[in-house]
Assembly symmetry: D4
Homo-oligomer: 251 residues x 8
């Protein structure tokens, strides 16, 4: 993989920084047969690889973690990791710490927050907390300070209005709600920062496993809102973290 | 139809008031071949018959109006009446006054309001006004005082909060919104009176002709909300008027 | 929270009743970290808080009940409480009485009925009884007299017609049905009081977990019907109770 | 095609009636290039070919009619024939009589009714009449006596109950309704004969062009009901006519 | 319930047969609190009540069976009865014989077939057999001779064509298929008797639990087909039996 | 673009054929600002570019045709070209010949057929002909012999069975049908060559603009069938032509 | 509205800047009866109000523009403005410049770009240009530099790969595509900046007016993508502009 | 079944090869009561029967395998065979070898590959492997060489581009992906051979059990792609194998 060779060339000046960066962004991955682990995502996308645990065996997860560690990544997050699989992993990955509500496992430690400001994670109800904690822990893993505002749904609008200061101060807001998903619209009308809306599958009957909240959020009248997949706390946090680390682009 | 005979019996005491009322609620209708006009709905349901104009020819509408008048009904409302059909009706029903925004026609005059309090008709946006006016005029036709709050959608929550007094004072609220339909949830959280939610087909893309708002309203977290069909301003007003005229039931 | 201070001011006349009422309706809630319990709903909405048990742990439910009790609420209803969770709650909330068919738990006693008249709870079939009992118990909890008419579906219309007297006498009717949901339409055509329709997920195949009944009820030809979410017996009863306690609004 | 030769063989006894019938049921058709006209459907299915007019040019319709006439069919029904196309056909098929409400054209005369009893065609509302007339005329064309019961929807159940005698006397009932389609369930509960349900696209909003009525009818609690496609008056009448002409099967 | 009194009147001539029949068709039912058992369906609909077992407790089923027996019904069919519940019923209803494939239980014996001819029950595949056996046993219970044609799906059209004689001889055909449901169309094109199509939930992926087959059957190009709910073998057999027992209607 | 230079290198041997082929497959296109015309698709995909006419202005179509001609392509097919646009194009592209049924325009002449055998294009009904002709003309344009079998739907299975020889002889079959789409299944069961199924939007009611046929075809029990988008005659022909030109791959 | 009074207080120091900012963010709007124009959105959300033209009359649009101008807003964008309405507006708003492809009208001039870097607007095909231009012009109106990459869909992946430099340099990317919407996933995998995906209603058949692209984009495997409503170019640009103007939050 | 007699006739010349082939293709099957095993599919379709294991009992599977063996088929593949059923089969079919990931069982040995070139089986992610292995093993069973490219989804497009050589060399490509299914489009744009797309049910939320990937693939912009049912690895391999064994058709 010659990472060192390439960097040596940069050092000696035979390769410019720009050329090296472009080369590194372009390619290699470790082929584990069952998975092609992306070793350069950190360079290309600015963040470490995160492992989506669902549909992978404990052996596969362990294998990918080890490959990432061998490549120099010092912390790894595993999402959508159910409790039973985490129990099995405890043998091969004893250093993995597991959060049962968020269903995420962490190897290594959380970094110091570095973004432009706090990311607010708000939920409509108590039942949305698993998605919210997946988002909050992912955001912290990616180097953000997180403010949690749980159970501030619009059925009691004063509970939300009591937190307008946090909303005004946020750098990015992740609005998480099931059922009718109105939280995103109301927050979108109050806030002047970008809002990432996450519909959840919380609800019953005509919520149709999150479809009602999804459609509601896609139709939010307030501008400055975009939406990720149902229950996708990770995706929302990843997007929010990118936004919270924005800076001037090189010319 | 022997209405007179029956009433004569009541007068002479050979039929009690309760028996007569029950008999009158039970049955007759005028068979116009293309329609069976319900001449006793006023007795049975407490309100005059309203004509649903869509899918009926001008001749049929005129025929039904005349049958109702012959039965003693002194005012008639025709809903879902498009402008072209209203133009044709001007010849056979010159006394019909037409409201192009609400697409309703009225024969006779509006009654004095008699309900328990005002019915608030609130909309999320300007584009919901045709449905709102159908609701407002129907409510007035059925004997209610109406307060209109238009364009108070949740994208600018302060526009709605500026009207909390009207919301607290309402007897019933009709919350009309397209797109994400969050208005119903927010009003439901503020109000302590019954709320009838009307999803509208206003919107585009993932609003799917009102489906998004419909699902959103059915899932409203706030209690005390029920929902009628998409764009059904008439149905909401009819329900609201029944509620606004509630009184003790006879033992 | 200074509730006493505020009431003292009312007593001394330094605060008018209207001002105090408005202040009390406006705001506070107990922040339990996982939930923001609404302590003033009884004032603002006229009814006690009801706990939605699904998605909450026994500890959370116990915590919320205790917070409500501390705030002076003397009875609490917990809905969507499955039998296993109720068993666990028996230790921390021994005074909670559990109804397995309705899946509700009650702390305290049911109040005396106070509404305008009886609320009729009608079902299409035997299988709709869990939803119906959730509705009936909620209505009783909120101070209504309930008349139960079960298994009166339209496949044998004479079973329903044998109960026309109860339908004529009702103050509000909750019509509960799965499969094709025609019960709501037929009752809507018979009754002159407001009808709240509840589609249930009873059925199979093209019932699509209640979608068929939901669409059917939303399209009910009879006026004076509105609809709540699939299986939402609680919501229907809450709405019906509000209607059954209607009275003149203050000027 | 040797129809005569075959029949000659039957006459002379060299071919049994059963063999001839089976041979005739098996095969031929006229290949008009754009259509393969089924010349033996009358034998195989017991009824004359009916032309589905939608998506066919006037020339194609004329060609098929002439091919059927050449084959000895003395009456032809053309369904789904819009008024403009019927106008054009007036030149090449002057003997075609057109019914604009039912959108069907007829060449030849209606036959004497021959079935087991009357077919009742019932509709929920006035707007369902085009579908109902397509069904009624098709049934008459196929040799049935038809009783029309229009506008007897369940919103005023007494309008339907006034006609229980016709329902008890029916051989087959075609129940046609849009919106919530409850008519089929109620008739199914009253009648003891087979009921064919036809959902119509009449309605708006959550009727979703007949989907609500379709699902409702498929879930009808009453037994003895089956369903055809939305607006398919022809298909219902064809099925009803087959049922109305049932007789013992040959051993 | 005075059934005897009524019949006595018939015997003495003080009540005509027609009047008695109409009276008996009109009304009574046994109110078991959890169910209103229809004791006169046999008279009104011409067939014995069948119990839909799903969603009923063993106690309720036993209660209804006993009520029907007390009313003189000598055989009872229980459909949608899963194996576990049948096991429990073995104690209170030891005479109930259970068919695990069809998931139906029978009290009493099957009657002699009496219809116009055989009912053919055809399936597309082996996996459709549970629905097919529910249909076949129901048809036999209702007095029909049944011919079973299983696994004759259109993927090997010659398997179906090898049975054209049974198809030509049938009085009614029940065509049962999952996946793409094409069997109904092909049989509809071959047969000259009524065809009842039953979509099944057999399949995976884009079969969407029977939706694909349902839509396919509703759109069947062949005339003379009508459709019942997904997996509704009972409903198809009930309809088929009515058709197979058609006879002239009284004047 | 240096095509000549590259080919010159091939000629002189300084570039091997394989290297040249790979280079040519890799890249260039003409940037017309509104479109990036793929000039090497003929090399990379083995066929000439086809222009999708819908959503392009006559000017854009003319521009793309001219760019392709300049690049040496001697025939161009334009699909989804409505009659009005074709009329406008007659001025700037006078050599374009237009087929109104197929809605395709052709510049240049059709090539000699070169495939492994005939492609059969079969339709269920007359109304499917526009899609079928789009498929047939595209297949001819791409160098295939086409056999048309129109109106052989399964409602009269003998019409299809009369053509088993053509089905056995086909190299590839394109099965086109709307409504219930059963044609694909039946042909799939008869044929031993690959079958491409094309659902069409022909139908009404529960066909839902082709959804019923699409689901039906995706669930076809017969193996050896794959499906393209609704009404996508072009895509089916493109796929069929690729299959019909299969040959050994280079080592 | 006392804006001056408030600012005067700031000037004299009797009101701190923070207090004034919060007051201004909180409330007022101009009540035009048909619309409540938000006069402080510029302060609260950081951008000028944009008028959604669909469903508003030319008079209403003119009224809102004049109200905004009176409030000091020096440029106004009107989106979803069809050509006919723009023609009528030319009389009352002669200074409005109209772009027929993007269907937007502009009063005033575009500002100098001020964001962190360029916003790339990429489309899958030529037909997506109306949505793309709505996005591009909105982004420019909100103070961003825009790079347009049109017709770079994944069917010819080399067309997209030829622009990797623009993708690496982008501050935010708006990926616009109809049909299968794969463009968002591919760009998301290449880019390290936030990607806003816009599904369009371009396509036919199983695209279901943009549903296919919408679902595809919501499921994009690549992280760092969020989605707005179908065809919502404005919403995407608004979100992108907020992201492109991110900076440190005040403590 | 007289296969030998028929072949004897061929040998002696009393039956031509063509006649014999046609006769053999036409008909017989073994009727196992629960299944009609197609003994001539090998002749008619060119491949051995494959048993779809889902919904069949171990006894039925064993019976069908033995019938096929008795008919001379020397290898049998059983698909959709879950692990528990395979365990039971180990007793009656000890020679069956089971692959738990692909959920297929094989009796006999895989044949030598004979097609035109390799079939590439590509997946978007690790979780798609069960479907991919079903496809790969089926293709090998049907006589094809298979190249596996797993986890080459478009979220890291360079992983796919690293394998362009295998894509250029493929005879047919099976592109398998869940979530947004973009892999098919991208491969379709790179390859010049036919591509069979298989949507999988891998994903969550708005993937709706594979619907998102299915719609995405049906709308793939690239030509030369067709689609099979969700998770249908077998069907894709069957189709691919047919294509990979194409050759000139007999005149």
């Amino acid at each position: 993989m010659q990472l060192e060779a390439l960097l040596e060339q940069v050092k000696t000046g035979s390769l410019s920084v720009e050329e090296a960066a472009r080369a590194l962004k372009a390619a290699p991955f470790a082929d584990l047969d069952y998975a092609k682990v992306d070793l350069h995502r950190q360079l290309r996308q600015g963040v470490s690889e995160v492992i989506y645990g669902a549909g992978k065996t404990p052996e596969q997860i362990t294998g990918i973690v080890r490959a990432l560690e061998a490549n120099g990544q010092d912390r790894v997050l595993v999402t959508r990791l159910d409790q039973a699989k985490a129990g099995v992993l405890a043998e091969t990955l004893p250093e993995l710490r597991y959060d049962p509500m968020a269903r995420v496992g962490l190897v290594g430690t959380l970094p110091e927050p570095t973004g432009l400001g706090p990311i607010v994670v708000a939920t409509g109800g108590t039942s949305d907390m698993p998605v919210a904690e997946e988002a909050a822990l992912t955001a912290e893993y990616l180097g953000n300070r997180v403010v949690r505002l749980y159970d501030v749904g619009v059925a009691g609008i004063h509970r939300l209005l009591a937190h307008t200061q946090e909303i005004y101060d946020a750098s990015v807001i992740i609005a998480i709600a099931g059922m009718e998903g109105a939280l995103a619209s109301v927050i979108g009308g109050l806030a002047d920062c970008p809002v990432i809306a996450v519909p959840t599958s919380v609800g019953y009957g005509a919520s149709f496993q999150g479809l009602a909240a999804l459609l509601s959020m896609l139709n939010a009248c307030a501008a400055g809102i975009s939406v990720v997949n149902i229950d996708n706390g990770f995706g929302a946090a990843f997007m929010a973290s990118k936004i919270n680390h924005m800076g001037p682009r090189p010319e």
